[in-house]
């Protein structure tokens, strides 16, 4: 294939993609001239180029479409649903031809071009158009009244206006079964049946205006962009990684020379910017995937006789290109499931007192280093009893075991291969492939799938996708005098065990070590012993840290010798000779140039055999968390200071340190703690420090919290628990109280972090500049 044809194919594909998007939008706003102009442009471009390249079949089809669109553009015709359906069909056939050209360079055999052209020509005739429109609006009303029953009949009425009813377009002149609205949901048309029958009355004004300006800005953006090969971007990414490492070495080597410092700082900043830019270059907005959905939802809704309103939010959220590709399939599956199993047919919805038009919501948002994609519907939800029955029927689980499962655990069963609750296998779903595919695909790219469902209320499927595949946040741990990277995703908390505590806090059942974490036994895995089965000692006379991990529902503590800083690591694959070990998911180069193996928490759990014991524990733990979330109250750390209880907002707590009271030093009368040169102001309003002053070795507990941008410490005697606070109101006024909450049925004061006096610091700008830490 020559360069010109290839270029034409890419361009035409993009044109058709844009056209598809615009057509579904047009259904919503048939009067939007900018949309019509945009569609017209796409078809016109294809027609122009095909003529030039000699693709006769394409040219003829595009030409007919252009004529029809021309009339719509000039206002001679209204963009009625039959016209839109006709144009969508035209688009499908254009796509099929393009695919053919891509495959073998020929346009392929024309099968029903004639009928499509005839149909489009028929739609052009202004005399017939109003008739078709009438038939259609009548049809729309029939849908309102009797949902699906009348569809076949009215399709005939609509088809009668057309000379030769095309076979391929049997359900063609249907009313807009699905209407598409973009965020914000507040501006969506009122959910009355009439809104669907007359979509033109929907969002006029600001939103339509916004659509127009957006269309205008996309065209100008197209002129300032450039197509780049992804392989080249990957290569650039690799080289930038290399540059970052070289820079780190330069920084270390030149730190002593004041003349070089300025230069190396500059190098540092340029490298950081470069890395950022290359990463950005690989990012694409999720709208690239989302934009395919309105058409799919529209077609599926027609096929399944559902009425669905699609809402999309957060389309501008960006994700690495390869990940975006990877979520396309899971997302499609999830939407199919929502339409087929979730949203009920309109008559059923009405009978249940719901809006006959169901809502399907697609939402993307960034949360830290993850992008969350949510597919939620307000359909029937998942009946856990049906799940239980089906799982037993399909032999996925024994009846005894099924009886023991909690509701949440039952929901997880739908992710098993071969599971489907659909009574009948349909074209759309019900073959028992689906949710397991969703989960495997998402887990393959390091993501997670969560499902939440309320019977009768709807289902929410949440895909958590890492921002990029190549770079993950990890905690660097030390063991065997060597660094290992532990992905942060699996890490839930860290516990420090000092040598003198080790003998008492680590308990044993025969030779299985356990740690009592807030009253529950947590199985422990010693990394050192796992990696070096012979020669490592059972007794530990040095500090240890327990990393509490939650991998695939298995909860355990990994014991390591030391912790280094968290780092954003670049994942490098391992040679197949090392993959057999199974414990490592890759390797990485750390900021100091050292290599570190990336530990795979899931495999460690399996290898250590904690799988089964940990499972229920984890389920219970997550259930507790869920219960807490349901309460909607803020969580607090309950502490005891000098005999009194107080609450610290859990969201602000960074870590909890235990130390002898002598570590606390004083600046004037203000207590402070020096952490390797970082000074932490300590709050001692409760007088814990004063009480412990007699014995320099007396242990105190300091809760380190975040307050604005600074960190502060609170001296307490004990940390008691984590609990959810309940609101209190002032008697009489019913005003919410401030600074006090109801914790475990007793009124507890909330520590005022803002009240802790600032340390004397230099101006802010000086403090902000810390590029090495910011980068690595």
């Amino acid at each position: 294939m020559d360069e010109l044809t290839r270029e034409f194919l890419i361009e035409s594909q993009e044109g058709l993609d844009r056209m598809e998007r615009c057509l579904t939008d047009l259904e919503e706003r048939p009067d939007d001239a900018a949309l019509i102009a945009d569609i017209f442009r796409s078809v016109h471009t294809i027609k122009g180029t095909t003529g030039f390249l000699g693709f006769k079949r394409l040219e003829k089809l595009a030409h007919t479409g252009e004529n029809l669109l021309g009339m719509v553009r000039e206002g001679k015709l209204e963009a009625t649903p039959p016209i839109i359906t006709g144009l969508l069909e035209l688009m499908d056939i254009l796509r099929a031809i393009l695919k053919n050209i891509e495959a073998d360079g020929s346009e392929g055999e024309s099968s029903n071009d004639g009928t499509i052209i005839a149909n489009l020509e028929q739609l052009q005739s202004p005399a017939k158009a109003p008739q078709a429109k009438e038939a259609d609006s009548a049809h729309a009303e029939s849908i309102q009244a009797h949902a699906v029953g009348k569809q076949a009949g009215s399709a005939e009425t609509g088809g009668a206006a057309v000379a030769e009813p095309p076979v391929a377009s049997a359900p063609a002149p249907a009313a807009p079964v699905s209407s598409v609205t973009s965020a914000p949901p507040a501006s969506a048309p009122p959910s009355k049946p009439s809104a669907a029958a007359a979509p033109a009355t929907g969002p006029e004004g600001p939103e339509a205006e916004a659509g127009r300006t957006k269309a205008a800005s996309t065209t100008s953006a197209a002129e300032s962009t450039l197509r780049v090969d992804v392989a080249l971007l990957n290569r650039m990414m690799n080289l930038v990684g290399e540059l970052v490492l070289t820079r780190n070495q330069v920084l270390q080597a030149t730190s002593a020379d004041p003349k070089m410092t300025l230069l190396s700082r500059r190098l540092d900043m340029v490298t950081a910017d470069l890395r950022e830019s290359v990463m950005r270059a690989r990012m694409q907005p999720v709208s690239n995937v989302f934009s395919k959905m309105p058409r799919m939802v529209r077609d599926l809704a027609q096929m399944l006789h559902r009425r669905v309103r699609l809402q999309m939010e957060g389309q501008e959220t960006e994700l690495d290109k390869s990940l975006l590709e990877a979520i396309k399939d899971p997302l499609t599956h999830a939407i199919r499931n929502s339409l087929d199993h979730g949203i009920e047919p309109p008559d059923v919805r009405e009978a249940n007192g719901k809006d006959p038009e169901g809502t399907l919501r697609l939402r993307a948002l960034q949360e830290g280093s993850h992008v969350i994609i949510e597919v939620s519907d307000d359909g029937a939800g998942i009946g856990v009893e049906r799940v239980r029955a089906k799982a037993i029927e399909r032999g996925l689980i024994s009846a005894d075991r099924a009886a023991l499962l909690s509701e949440r655990e039952l929901l997880q069963l739908i992710f098993l291969p071969g599971f489907s609750t659909a009574a009948a296998v349909t074209n759309v779903s019900g073959r028992g492939v689906g949710m397991d595919v969703v989960r495997t695909n998402v887990e393959k790219i390091g993501g997670k799938v969560e499902i939440d469902s309320r019977a009768g209320k709807g289902t929410t499927l949440r895909l958590r996708i890492p921002l990029t595949l190549a770079i993950i946040p990890a905690l660097i741990v030390r063991s065997l005098q060597q660094s290992f990277a532990l992905p942060q995703g699996a890490l839930s908390e860290l516990v420090h065990v000092s040598p003198e505590q080790a003998t008492t806090t680590i308990e044993w059942i025969e030779d299985a070590p356990l740690y009592r974490l807030r009253g529950k036994l947590l199985p422990l895995v010693f990394l050192e012993r796992l990696l070096m089965p012979v020669g490592s000692e059972a007794t530990r006379d040095r500090d240890s840290f327990i990393a509490v991990l939650d991998a695939d529902g298995r909860r355990f503590g990994l014991v390591v010798d030391g912790l280094a800083d968290p780092e954003e690591i670049v994942v490098k694959p391992l040679s197949s000779a090392l993959k057999g070990i199974g414990l490592y998911s890759g390797a990485t180069v750390l900021g100091n140039g050292d290599l570190a193996l990336i530990l795979d928490p899931g495999s460690i759990a399996m290898k250590a055999g904690v799988a089964m014991t940990g499972e229920e524990e984890a389920a219970r733990a997550t259930e507790d968390e869920v219960a807490d979330i349901d309460n909607k109250g803020a969580e607090f750390l309950l502490v005891e200071a000098a005999g009194r209880k107080a609450a610290v907002p859990l969201g602000d707590v960074l870590r909890i340190e235990q130390m002898p009271v002598k570590r606390v030093e004083y600046v004037g009368i203000r207590p402070v703690i020096n952490f390797d040169g970082q000074l932490l102001p300590v709050d001692d309003t409760a007088g814990v420090l004063a009480a412990a002053q007699g014995d320099p070795e007396a242990p105190i507990v300091v809760v380190v919290c975040r307050e604005g941008r600074r960190h502060v410490g609170i001296a307490v005697s004990h940390v008691l628990d984590v609990a959810t606070g309940a609101e209190l109101v002032e008697a009489g006024t019913s005003l919410r109280t401030d600074g006090v909450t109801l914790l475990k049925d007793s009124v507890t004061e909330i520590v005022n972090l803002g009240g802790i006096a600032d340390l004397p610091v230099e101006s802010d700008v000086e403090n902000q500049w810390n590029p090495v830490e910011a980068l690595q």
């Binding site: 490492l245 060597q482 040679s575 197949s576 000779a577 090392l578 890759g586 290599l595």
Partner: protein, 164 residues
């Protein structure tokens, strides 16, 4: 020259006596000298400290960082059943069908240009394990240069062999 080695990888195992010249990098391991055809060497990294991989098969000498990639380094000492050695080692970065890998040696010597007429295949008395990675030897004036077969040192291949 008309009889330049046509198939470079097979060059070291040529049995014909035609005087083709091959450039060979000599490496030292303990008291012995070994050779690797230079056509297989991408780069030599000196004074490297490979990162050990716990639980890895014995022939894996560790991981090394090479141009943004992480290479698996094969310990030649282990393959030749020599005791391992403390301290830094030199690494030859070699090309294999599955990607690059490193070969850990005590030190890298000079590059020699040798004639294939000086080459002889393995003696039948050589034990099985060594015969697997040694291609033969060049007769130097006062010593033998034992030729290694780089393709047989590929960790992927060694891993399969170990598993079998």
């Amino acid at each position: 020259m008309s009889n330049q080695p046509s198939n470079q990888s097979g060059a070291t195992r040529r049995k014909d006596k035609a005087a083709a010249l091959t450039e060979i990098c000599s490496v030292r391991l303990g008291q012995s000298m070994y050779g690797v055809p230079i056509s297989h060497i991408l780069e030599i990294v000196g004074q490297a400290r490979p990162q050990p991989v716990p639980l890895a098969p014995g022939f894996v000498g560790g991981l090394v960082h090479y141009r943004g990639d992480v290479l698996t380094a094969v310990s030649l000492r282990h393959l030749l059943k020599m005791p391992s050695r403390e301290g830094t080692q030199d690494i030859l970065v070699l090309e294999a069908p599955g990607g690059y890998f490193g070969l850990l040696v005590d030190s890298v010597g000079e590059v020699l240009t040798l004639s294939s007429s000086e080459f002889e295949a393995n003696p039948s008395t050589l034990d099985e394990a060594r015969r697997d990675i040694i291609a033969g030897a060049y007769k130097l004036q006062n010593a033998l240069l034992i030729m290694l077969d780089p393709e047989r040192l590929d960790p992927v291949r060694l891993g399969v062999a170990e598993a079998a």
